[in-house]
Amino acid sequence: MSKRYAFHVNMALCIGCDTCAMACKNQYHQEAGIVWRKVYPVSEAIYPHRDRAWMSLACNHCDNPPCLEGCPASAYTKRDDGVVVHHPDLCIGCQQCLHTCPFGVPQYNPHTKKAEKCSLCWERLDAGLQPACVQGCPTGALSLVDLNTFDDPSAIQFPPGFPHRPEVGPSTRFTLPEQPKIVRRES
């Protein structure tokens, strides 16, 4: 049986250090302004301290990717291992995928006049390596898992703040952040 690759984002371990985001730029050299992986701060409505819990997000490599389904140029394919691949040579830059992705993943590159997104480093996977972001994560917060065997009981698919879109089947799994006991100054 082939694998079903997915990112596991363990927010309990994540320190929002942006290493994953830069590890991606280190590998692909995206132009300034284009970032394939973003580390979003979780709002204080969900985690009570500003900029202290984070959601590291790139492409969710969905089971039923709307980018692929809606692409008039067939510029997206999904591999057997689950990776959703964008093919720039086929892309016509119509930006349909920007509208259909519920997670805001594809970005339009005004220089190439095409869309682009996280490839899950399929070239690295095929060489037996971890994705650049996973390789770089210093705390073990970001990992690559195979959903066929992944059985972390803490992992959930739709944490608060992440769009609830079960029909598209985002592959990313999350573990929620924890809170310390806090002793604030009395004076």
């Binding site: 929002g16 705390t139 809170q179 004076s187």
Partner: protein, 772 residues
């Protein structure tokens, strides 16, 4: 360009338009900043037309690259080993050193930005001369012209003053590669000069640990996994030592409790079990209060103190006579029961450790506060234990030859005749010539503005700046710029046109680690990393020692014998000359070339420092009572010392940032994608009282100066505190925290580093809303 807005916040906004959860998603996931998504003005800005091709890339398969070993030399706990992947002479990407269990195959947000550092279009490519400091009116000159002007000035000074004391060097931690001490070597090779000595970073704590234990020496950070109790006291490894987090996490997994003590609810604080928000500078009082409670409860390890300590009874008597738990808790702003509980838990855990951060010693009482924390670790018997220890830093692995640094003065050189101390924490005395009748003149590195203003006979005529962004990172910027007006010529060696280069007359372009040969160790972990030249130096860049060598050639041509620095050096040979048998034995290698296969770790008898409990103090004991401290003007015991009086309504903290190492990295366009502008962090209550809302432009001001920037509201900072991170510069933004930080000294530092530290966190300011 309108459509490119979709490359960021707008993109998600559009995409989420079709979902029911759009509004809540937007509300919940604050964008990292709309500015991060602003369109760039062109394709990845190329290094320049004539530069190597550096553009979009993809992973081409491991066989497509040559690999080299490098190290990040930017004054960081982690000092990571790097594997560099080079294709067709271009540094394509970097990865973390996999053979080091500390770096563990990954870098940090800064380390992964290195390819952009190398090929940034903003790099300084050629020697340049500025017509009018601060004018930006730069013209390209040749190396010959630059060195002719500089050597001419050197000879002119010698002629005029009869010595070279009018030539001064300020250099610190921009590159901690061992061959970079060749900058000091260059100055020595010219004669006796003026040196700005000391360190802005950690000197008060260095002295404290020297008084207590005879040296600064920490356990291997990898042994934190064995700790049963960890107090992270004034350190923020989530920003400043990301590779240490995994050991704290592992200790937690094995059942350890982690308490984080900090004035700010840091990213590290939320990863602990318990966070204490303390008043800045109250750390000594808090440690004394915890110690008092241990005494009251009979929880002191008296056997340890009797066997291994000197003066413990006197320390206990001092505490009983002068300290109550209630008093200390109040000083720190904490509830008494909480202080008592954690003191008890700490004493009960075995082993228990405290990570003493550098932030907490940047106070007028910082050194003595570190001593009180050291004592807490010692009186619970945790010094010398794997998994225990008062962890601050170490220089245990730094025993290189300093071949590039140790240079003789030219024959007949005239210098200073007064007494001088060490020239910084790395000065092992190897360079000192005890028989010389002259020496260098030393000035306090942390008061560069004042020292230049005060300097006479001779004044500072020529200032050489290397590995240091003085105008960004030193204290009281306005004073520094004013002092620079007195200096006849300023030469800066740098990578980028930063605020210091703006004030220079001549800038010399230097190399990144990837264009250099050197060797690196850490002051925290125990690994050794080779730094190979992975790519040819770009454009006309030269390393520090290549600059020294070139200057020596020009000087000796003009005036034979005027400079002893070797000419026509080979950078690789110079690197090899830094190794010795001691280093080989310590790291269990037979040749430096072994390091081409991977990193080496020091062969330690124990992961614990002081494991044999033979301390390097005069008594050989842990000195709760230090006569040397008393001789140097401090209390012999770590007695309470009050903090600095407030001189403005709000405390101002300017700690280290997530996206930069001091002023490095944060200027890169890649980093601006993640960290688009500097902010001041304000408690909502304080902001509310001043009519400030999130995103407002504000003026932060005090008697030293002012800055203008945007405010972000957060209760991560206390209501009486403002926080802004230490550096952020770009061509478009002149933000500089040192417009607000004065040069008042911390209590300690002069003993081991030559100058006291700076009370960087004993600063105060006010804030008001201004028109954007």
């Amino acid at each position: 360009m309108h459509e490119s807005k979709s490359s960021g916040a707008k993109n998600i906004e559009l995409a989420l338009g079709s979902t029911l959860s759009r509004r809540s998603f937007l509300k919940i996931l604050m964008m990292t900043g709309a500015a991060a998504a602003l369109p760039s003005t062109g394709l990845l800005r190329s290094f320049s037309q004539e530069g190597p091709a550096f553009g979009r890339a993809t992973f081409a398969g491991l066989g497509a690259y040559q690999t080299f070993r490098n190290a990040c030399p930017r004054n960081c706990y982690d000092t990571c080993g790097i594997v560099s992947y080079v294709k067709d002479g271009v540094l394509e990407f970097v990865e973390g050193e996999p053979t080091s269990t500390y770096t563990d195959g990954g870098l940090c947000v800064k380390g992964y930005a290195y390819p952009r550092t190398v090929y940034s279009p903003d790099r300084i490519k050629y020697p340049m001369r500025q017509i009018g400091r601060g004018s930006g009116n730069w013209e390209r000159i040749s190396w010959e012209e630059a060195l002719d002007a500089i050597s001419g000035k050197i000879l002119e000074i010698k002629e005029k003053d009869g010595s070279l004391l009018g030539m001064a060097l300020t250099k610190y931690s921009g590159n901690f590669g061992i061959t970079h001490y060749g900058v000091e070597g260059m100055l020595s090779s010219l004669g006796y000069t003026t040196r700005f000595v000391g360190t802005p970073c950690w000197p008060a704590g260095i002295d404290a640990q020297n008084y207590d234990m005879g040296n600064m020496w920490c356990n291997d950070p990898e042994d934190m996994v064995q700790a049963k109790y960890i107090i992270v006291w004034g350190a923020n490894p989530a920003y400043c030592s990301v590779h240490s987090l995994k050991y704290i996490y592992e200790a937690k997994k094995r059942g350890a409790k982690v308490v984080v003590i900090d004035p700010v609810l840091t990213q590290t604080a939320v990863k602990g079990d318990e966070y204490w928000q303390v008043k800045p500078g109250s750390d000594g009082a808090l440690a004394l209060a915890m110690s008092r409670h241990l005494i009251d409860q009979g929880l002191v390890n008296r056997d340890w103190a009797a066997a291994n300590g000197l003066g413990y009874d006197e320390y206990e008597a001092y505490i009983k006579a002068n300290v109550t738990v209630e008093w200390g808790a109040e000083q720190a702003g904490l509830p008494v029961d909480v202080v008592k509980r954690v003191a008890e838990e700490f004493a009960a855990a075995d082993p228990a450790t405290i990570w003493i951060g550098y932030g907490m010693q940047r106070h007028v009482n910082g050194g003595v506060n570190v001593r009180a924390i050291d004592a807490l670790v010692a009186m619970t018997g945790n010094v010398g234990k794997p998994g225990g220890g008062a962890r601050y830093g170490h220089l245990f692995t730094w025993g290189f030859n300093y071949n590039a640094m140790v240079q003789a003065a030219p024959e007949g050189s005239v210098g200073y005749t007064g007494a001088t101390g060490p020239k910084g924490e790395f000065d092992t005395g190897q360079g000192a010539d005890a028989t010389a009748s002259y020496t260098d003149r030393t000035f306090n590195i942390n008061k560069i503005g004042q020292e230049i203003l005060d300097a006479q006979d001779p004044p500072v005529r020529l200032l050489w700046i290397a590995n240091k962004n003085v105008v960004s990172q030193d204290f009281d910027k306005n004073k520094i710029v004013k002092a620079f007006e007195k200096v006849e010529m300023i030469v800066a060696v740098d990578l980028f046109f930063n605020p210091t280069v703006e004030q220079a007359d001549i800038v010399l372009p230097t190399v990144t680690p990837f264009e250099d040969w050197t060797v690196n160790v850490s002051y925290w972990h125990y690994w050794l990393h080779l730094n190979e030249q992975a790519i040819k130096p770009l454009f006309e860049t030269k390393s520090d020692i290549e600059i020294a060598s070139a200057l020596s050639a020009v000087l000796n041509a003009k005036q034979p014998g005027s400079c002893t620095f070797p000419q026509n050096i080979d950078a690789k040979e110079m690197m090899i000359k830094e190794f010795n048998d001691g280093i080989y034995q310590l790291f269990g290698i037979t040749s430096w070339e072994d390091l081409r296969k991977g990193a080496a770790k020091a062969k330690l008898p124990s992961s614990a420092s002081w494991s044999d409990l033979k301390f390097a103090t005069p008594s050989g004991k842990y000195e709760f009572k230090s006569e040397i401290a008393q001789t140097n003007g401090h209390t012999a015991l770590p007695e309470y010392k009050a903090g600095r009086e407030a001189y403005a309504p709000l405390r101002l903290l300017t700690p280290h940032a997530k996206h930069g190492l001091h002023s490095q990295f944060q200027n890169l366009d890649w980093m601006h994608d993640l960290n688009p502008e500097p902010l001041v962090y304000v408690h909502p209550q304080t902001a509310g009282a001043k009519g400030i809302v999130d995103g407002d432009t504000v003026r932060v001001f005090n008697p030293t100066g002012e800055v203008r920037l945007k405010a972000q509201l957060t209760n991560n900072v206390p209501a009486d505190t403002l926080l802004m991170y230490e550096a952020w510069f770009s061509a478009k933004n002149t933000f500089n925290v040192n417009l607000l930080v004065d040069d008042v000294s911390s209590d300690m530092g002069a003993y081991k580093t030559g100058s006291p530290g700076v009370a960087i966190h004993d600063q105060f300011a006010d804030i008001e809303k201004v028109a954007a």
